[in-house]
C-alpha cells in the first residue's frame, strides 16, 4: 500500500485541524461529566420545563465546580511551596 503524499503545508493544516477536534472532544467530555454531576444536584423532578431556580442552579453548579477545582490546585501548590 502506498502512502499518500502531503506537502508540509497540508501536514501543518491537518495537525491543526486534528488538534482543534481533540480540544472539542475534551470540552464535550467535561460537559458530559458536569451535566451528570449537576443534574443530580439541581434537577429532582422532571417538569414541562426547567424552572428558573433549576437553571440558575445548573449554571452556578458549573462555576462552583470549577472554582472548587482551582481552589484545590491552588491549595496543593501552597502546601508544596511552604514545605520546601
Amino acid at each position: 500500500m502506498s502512502q499518500p503524499q502531503f506537502s508540509e503545508n497540508d501536514q501543518r493544516e491537518l495537525a491543526q485541524f486534528l488538534e482543534g477536534e481533540q480540544a472539542k472532544a475534551r470540552v464535550q467530555e467535561v460537559v458530559h461529566n458536569m451535566t451528570d454531576t449537576c443534574w443530580d444536584k439541581c434537577v429532582s423532578k422532571v417538569n414541562n420545563k426547567l424552572d428558573r431556580s433549576e437553571e440558575a442552579c445548573l449554571a452556578n453548579c458549573v462555576d462552583r465546580f470549577l472554582d472548587t477545582s482551582l481552589f484545590i490546585v491552588k491549595r496543593l501548590e501552597d502546601m508544596r511551596s511552604s514545605s520546601m
Partner: protein, 73 residues
C-alpha cells in the same frame, strides 16, 4: 470524517447518559411493558436532560472564555 465521528461519539454518550439517568427516574419498577406514564416521563426527562446539557455547555464555554481573557486558569 473526524468531525462526524466526534458528533457521533457525542450523541452516543448523550444517549447513554439519558438512558441511565431517566431509566432510573422514570422506571422504578420495570413491568411487562413500558407504561404510558413511564413513556411520558421518559420524554420529559429526556428534554430536561438535553436542556441541562445545553445550560452546562454554555456556562462552561463562557467560563473558558473569561478565564482565557483574564488568564487565571
Amino acid at each position: 470524517q473526524v468531525r462526524s465521528e466526534l458528533a457521533l461519539a457525542n450523541a452516543q454518550e448523550l444517549i447513554n447518559k439519558i438512558n441511565e439517568k431517566c431509566y432510573l427516574k422514570c422506571v422504578p419498577k420495570p413491568g411487562a411493558r413500558l407504561e404510558n406514564g413511564e413513556q411520558a416521563c421518559l420524554s420529559k426527562c429526556m428534554d430536561r436532560y438535553m436542556e441541562s446539557w445545553n445550560v452546562v455547555s454554555r456556562a462552561y464555554v463562557a467560563r473558558l472564555q473569561r478565564e482565557s481573557q483574564g488568564g487565571n486558569l
